[in-house]
């Protein structure tokens, strides 16, 4: 009986988390005339017309490519700079560690709305408006605090002896960093990389203000400003939403353990 209640609870939680996504899936497959008819909950037939329209009528492929480039670029930079900082903090005994980590954490709390107007002015002045490079740099900077925080926690777990042994064998600090520390912190790099990628994939405010055309528009902007001629094209929006959610769903299914590790690395131990 108790077991039954437990499983009922699980089903309830799963249903709550999945229902909006499932409804969007049903909407995306519903023939256009049936979008404005409820009931029935399920469409009379399944159609791919909305999916076809998303790619035929809009430069949606380009927008997805933009998001991929921006997210991958930001992830690489954040991992590179973040792991170097984490290494200095965890193994090089950099002075004032607590202060540095404190400052890093504080910068992550800055509200985006407070930094968006100065950055907009700078981006404009540098002629970087409507370019992918502006978003890559800003996202990498935004994700750095998270990367430093999580990677420092992971690198602290690598035994000091392994680093010391590499140095005694004649490795320079740089060699010890990329030959010993980086491979040993691979799980941390994966966890951090996933978090940074997802954050960049989802960011909206900077993308909204720094981009002007499909040359640099990313997915959240594309979805938010989805063009409608006379009325809102719900079927196409649903189809587009699902297309851009799919990569995230795959990442979550494949790497859920790593993602949760990354999410909790800072909070639970710190």
């Amino acid at each position: 009986m108790k077991r039954l209640g437990f499983y009922a609870g699980l089903i309830l939680v799963a249903g709550y988390c999945l229902a909006p996504v499932l409804w969007q899936l049903i909407t995306s497959l519903r023939p256009a005339p049936e979008l404005t008819a409820l009931p029935p909950l399920l469409p009379s037939r399944v159609t791919a017309e909305h999916y076809a329209a998303v790619f035929a009528g809009h430069p949606f492929g380009r927008i997805i490519l933009n998001s991929l480039i921006v997210s991958a670029g930001a992830t690489l930079i954040a991992l590179g700079f973040g792991s170097a900082t984490a290494f200095a903090l965890a193994k090089l005994r950099a002075k004032g560690q607590a202060v540095i980590l404190g400052i890093v954490l504080a910068t992550s709390m800055f509200p985006p709305i407070a930094t968006v107007s100065p950055l907009y002015i700078v981006v404009n002045a540098l002629g970087l408006r409507d370019t992918l490079i502006a978003l890559v740099i800003v996202y990498a900077g935004l994700a750095l605090p998270l990367a430093v925080w999580v990677l420092t926690n992971f690198m602290r777990q690598v035994p000091d002896e392994l680093y010391a042994a590499a140095r005694v064998d004649g490795a320079t600090p740089l060699q010890a960093f990329y030959r010993v520390m980086l491979p040993l912190s691979a799980p941390g790099l994966v966890a951090t990389g996933l978090l940074v990628f997802i954050l960049s994939w989802n960011e909206f405010l900077y993308a909204l203000t720094f981009t002007a055309t499909t040359r640099s528009r990313t997915i959240p902007v594309g979805i938010a400003l989805f063009p409608g001629l006379h009325e809102i094209p719900w079927g196409e929006i649903a189809a587009a939403s699902l297309v851009v959610t799919l990569p995230i769903v795959l990442l979550v299914l494949l790497f859920q353990r790593r993602i949760v590790e990354g999410l909790t690395a800072g909070a639970v131990k710190g």
Binding site: P20, T107, I113, T115, L144, Q256
Partner: protein, 287 residues
């Protein structure tokens, strides 16, 4: 054999420099710049900028729309975070049991967190639709959720709770699983029932983590922008306009960078104050 790390210490500055330069450029410099902008009359359409001291903040004090936005933001934050904490705690305790399919269940729970907020807001916007929305259909109601001055903010809160509860649940779940099982066994031997276990073992040991989760979520909810932008744009009649949304409109629709920066700086000051209060409370509860 093993030398001390101190003896091996190289120059850490070289490893710290890239991140330091980037953080300075992308976060520290803009924050200082926005404070400087907030002291100027700086319009992108009307002539060169001029220093006006605290004029923008005087205007802000007398601006009813700012106070309305602040009240909306506080209301949104309080209800969202309270809902997320309660629901997240329930889900965390539920998932803390050993069962088959734990990994799948955790992935399902993670999904709302991972979906872009803009996409999630579009999903909910469609479900909230007054004419063809599934929520009206299931409830048997006929409400224009996002067009109603009473319901719109609550609709946004419900969406935020759905989107952010997974974060809370998964952090608390990790904290709950880190509690040693012998503590529970010992308490059970002493005759503790499920409620006593929760009240005297789980809750006290989770308290520091609950504080951390509260800090993260409160700060995040207070900066809310994406969800409101898509769901209502601040309407109807400014009943869902948060400070971030108002600041955005002044900055990028009104192109008033001086006053808009003052509004943005106000968000920054509020977030800093919230953090300070939480840290003070955390210190006090640990002492």
């Amino acid at each position: 054999m093993i030398m001390s790390l101190r003896a091996l210490a190289a120059k850490p500055a070289a490893f710290l420099a890239p991140a330091a330069v980037m953080l300075a450029a992308v976060t520290v410099y803009p924050i200082l710049y926005v404070l400087w902008l907030s002291l100027q009359r700086h319009s992108l359409i009307a002539g060169p900028a001029s220093f006006v001291g605290f004029d923008n903040f005087a205007r802000l004090i007398g601006d009813g729309r700012f106070w309305n936005a602040l009240a909306n933001t506080v209301y949104f934050t309080a209800l969202s975070v309270a809902g997320e904490l309660m629901l997240g705690l329930v889900i965390a305790l539920l998932l803390a049991h050993a069962f088959r399919g734990y990994g799948t269940m955790r992935a399902i729970t993670l999904l709302p967190w991972a979906i872009p907020t803009v996409v999630a807001a579009r999903m909910w916007e469609w479900m909230y639709n007054g004419d063809f929305g599934v929520i009206n259909y299931l409830l048997g109601t006929d409400v224009n959720w996002l067009g109603s001055p009473v319901w719109a903010i609550h609709a946004a809160i419900a969406m935020d709770i759905w989107k952010s509860t997974p974060f809370v649940a998964l952090l608390l779940l990790a904290g709950r699983l880190a509690i040693a099982t012998d503590l529970y066994q010992a308490a059970r031997l002493d005759g503790a029932g499920p409620w006593a276990l929760f009240r005297y073992v789980t809750l006290p040991l989770l308290r520091p983590l609950i504080f951390i989760v509260l800090i993260f979520r409160t700060i995040d909810a207070f900066r809310v922008f994406d969800a409101i932008y898509v769901l209502t744009g601040g309407g109807p009649a400014n009943t869902t306009e948060t400070v971030s949304i108002y600041a955005y409109k002044v900055l990028f629709q009104g192109l008033e960078f001086g006053y808009g920066s003052a509004l943005a700086a106000a968000v920054f000051v509020c977030v800093a104050a919230i953090t300070a209060v939480y840290v003070w409370l955390l210190r006090r509860s640990l002492a």
